[in-house]
């Protein structure tokens, strides 16, 4: 059970940062995952008054505030036009509309959860995490970092020429994914991000140019194998490591074909 002694709706990022330096204090994003834990929180830090629940778009980038909900990502037209609807596809299976109206992108990315659709999705884009003290860090680096006491302010997605496909396998609707895959062609580079292995999602780039001579069934299959061989897979109640490894090859191949296979 989660218990909270004090609640502070902070008025500035500095106040949130100062409070967050104490180990018994916690930032509450949407509080969905936090609520499932057994935790005694001294001070719950609420950033909902800092106007960080917006998606700003410029010619160069999207800036997504940490308190933006998954439902906002799902329904944002520009983001979904840019990603060919992949962002909507990545979040629409997460529990239900009510849940997604509370769950935040900051919470999802900060948690670096081994089941995360959101982390899988954004790793296939040219994404960055803007930290209050740590500055702007590529998401691929942030995903590998240990959790610290810094604060996510924004998620930044640089606009590059992009094609993108998201796919996941679920035992039943609204459940965690057994495996999640996002394949993109971002600024001429092919990237496959694979999550829910179950381990923090990782992105693999096509460094050998497997897809550079065109996408067809053969090159897509080869890329699926290439990506899968570079990753480790584990077992849990949703599936065995072997099953996930097999799924990875299949889903990466399918996503590549959907990206523009002939």
């Amino acid at each position: 059970m989660l218990t909270i002694n004090e609640y502070v709706k902070v008025k500035s990022l500095e106040e949130a940062y100062e409070l967050n330096q104490k180990k018994t204090n916690r930032i509450i994003g949407g509080m969905l995952w936090l609520k499932m834990s057994t935790l005694r929180v001294q001070t719950a830090i609420d950033m909902s008054g800092l106007s960080l629940d917006n998606i700003e778009e410029t010619d160069e980038e999207f800036k997504i505030g940490a308190m933006t909900t998954l439902r906002q990502l799902e329904t944002n037209e520009s983001l979904n036009n840019y990603t060919n609807g992949a962002i909507r596809e990545s979040v629409r299976h997460i529990v239900g509309v009510q849940f997604r109206n509370s769950a935040t992108i900051g919470g999802s990315i900060y948690g670096r959860y081994g089941f995360s659709d959101v982390l899988t999705m954004f790793l296939a884009l040219d994404s960055y995490v803007e930290l209050y003290k740590g500055g702007i860090v590529p998401l691929s680096e942030f995903a590998k970092m240990k959790a610290d006491r810094d604060i996510i302010v924004n998620i930044i997605v640089k606009k590059k020429p992009l094609k993108c496909v998201y796919m996941s396998e679920r035992i039943s609707k609204t459940d965690f994914p057994v495996l999640a895959v996002c394949v993109s062609e971002c600024d001429g580079k092919f990237i496959a991000s694979v999550g829910a292995r179950p381990a923090r999602a990782e992105a693999i780039t096509d460094c050998e140019g497997i897809l550079s001579n065109g996408i067809n069934a053969e090159s897509a299959e080869k890329f699926g194998k290439y990506v899968t061989e570079k990753l480790n897979f584990n077992s849990n109640m949703r599936g065995s490591a072997e099953y996930r490894e097999h799924l990875s090859k299949v889903l990466v191949k399918r996503a590549v074909m959907a990206l523009g296979g002939k």
Binding site: K9, I28, G96, Q98, F99, K173, T174
Partner: protein
């Protein structure tokens, strides 16, 4: 701590504990339609409208609701009765336990999208679990409700 919430159109001031959940706060204030189903943010039974959007009241702190406007079934009598009676007459449900959250989310869906497609209905209501009906009865009832409303 002190909060002020507009519950079903009425301003309510209260002193609360920091970890009081919105569901308990609303029940303490007479909104007994709001119920706990799963406690794991999954079943949708505790759905309320917070500033017009459906949320799981079991997973929102009452403190975060400070300054917001909350609607529960008690405050949406006309819409709830119209749809609820229709569902009952269709024999669409069995035990009715999931009904309050289901009706709340149907109301939210129809406010966002007046004429949802079959896929849109299924997607919007995926977070409302029902353990008796297999969803077929509810799905049929919504479709008949929309057809009847369209015919009027």
């Amino acid at each position: 701590m002190n909060i002020q919430v507009k519950i079903n159109g009425k301003n309510v001031k209260s002193e609360i504990d920091a970890d009081l959940l919105l569901i308990d706060y609303l029940r303490d204030n007479g909104c007994l339609s709001v119920k706990r189903g799963c406690e794991t943010s999954n079943c949708g039974l505790c759905t309320v409208l917070m500033n017009g959007k459906p949320v799981l009241s079991c997973s929102v702190l009452a403190a975060r609701a400070d300054g917001s406007e909350i609607y529960t079934l008690e405050g949406l009598q006309k819409e709830a009765e119209e749809f609820g009676t229709f569902v009952a007459n269709q024999g669409a449900e069995q035990c009715g336990f999931c009904n309050p959250g289901f009706i709340m989310n149907v109301i939210a869906m129809l406010r966002e999208n007046e004429n949802p497609t079959d896929d849109e209905i299924k997607e919007y209501l995926a977070g409302n679990l029902c353990r008796c009906s297999g969803y077929e009865g509810q799905f049929r009832a919504i479709k008949n409700f929309l057809a009847q409303r369209g015919a009027k």
